[in-house]
Symmetry: C2
Subunit: 143 residues, 2 copies
Amino acid sequence: MSYTIKEASERLGCPAHTIRFYEKEGLPPYIKRDRHGNRLFDQDHLDWIRLMTCFRATGMKISLMKQMVNLALDGDATIPQRKAILNQYKEELYRRQSQLAEALDAVNNKLAIYEDIERGRLPSESRLLNQMEDQHNQSIKQE
Amino acid sequence: MSYTIKEASERLGCPAHTIRFYEKEGLPPYIKRDRHGNRLFDQDHLDWIRLMTCFRATGMKISLMKQMVNLALDGDATIPQRKAILNQYKEELYRRQSQLAEALDAVNNKLAIYEDIERGRLPSESRLLNQMEDQHNQSIKQE
DNA sequence: GCTTGCTTTAAAGTACACTTTAAGGTTTAG
DNA sequence: CTAAACCTTAAAGTGTACTTTAAAGCAAGC
C-alpha cells in the first residue's frame, strides 16, 4: 500500500513540490523509491508529514523540526532534549492562543462599532481615525 | 502629550525602524512632525499601531490593513466593505484557533509518549519513525 | 512512434515583513 | 568645540517558506 507523490499530495492537500521541498530539508526521512527513482509514500510517511504541516501551520520552524527529526534518529537518549523543544513550542502555542483571543476581541469590538454607526447610534467612525484626521486638518489650516 | 519615536517604540515594544516602516506602508496616517521633521506620536497613534500589530501577529497582511485604512479614510460609506474584510479575517482567526488546538493535542500526545518511553512503559520511540527506519534498513539489506 | 501526463533534479524566483546600512542633520552635555 | 545620542531618508539586505522554471526521463493510450 504505497502512494505516488501525486496521491500523497492529494491526500495531504499539499503541493507535490512542497513535499519534495520538505524531503530535501530532511523532514520525512527514509522515503522509498520505485525502480525508476519515483518516490513511494506509505501511510506512516503521510502521517508524519501531516504532523509536520500541523506544526508548521502553527509556527514551528522547519529548521527546528529537522533538529527534532535528527534527535529522534539518534535514539531514546535524546528524549529529554525533544521534550524540552516540545515544551518550548507548547509555550509558543499558548502565546498564540492569547494573541488570537486578543485579536478576536478587537475585531468584535470594531464590528460592534460599525454596527452602531450603521444604525446611527454613533456619530461616525470609531473616534481614532477621525480624531487623527481632525488633528491633521487643523495642522493644515495652520500652515 | 506627544511621544518621540523612541518613546513610542518603548511603549509599543516595537523597534523604531519598524514603526517607520509601517508609516511608509501607510498604516498609521497623519503622524505629526516637530519643526525638525521628527515624528510626534500621541496616544491615539499608539493605540492604532498597537491594534495593527495585534492584527499582524495573528496573520493579517499589511496590504490588507492598508486597504482598511484607505477605506476608513473614505468615510462611513465604506463600512460594509470594512465589515466584510473583518468578518473574513475573523474566519481566519477561527481557523487558526482550531489549528492551534490540533497542534496542542499533537504535542501533548508526543509528550505523553515520551513520558511512557522514559518510564519503560513503551518499548521505544513512537512507532512512526522506527518503523520507517526499519523499512529503510530492510531495503539497505536487500541491496 | 508520438503525444500526454506523470516523474525527476537543481537552481532561480517570489512574497512577506522586516532589518540593516549608509549618509547625513540636530540637540545636549562636558 | 566636540562627542554622544538622538533623529531623518532611501535603498539594499535578510530570513523563511515556499513556488516556479528548466531540462530531461519514463509509460500508457492512440
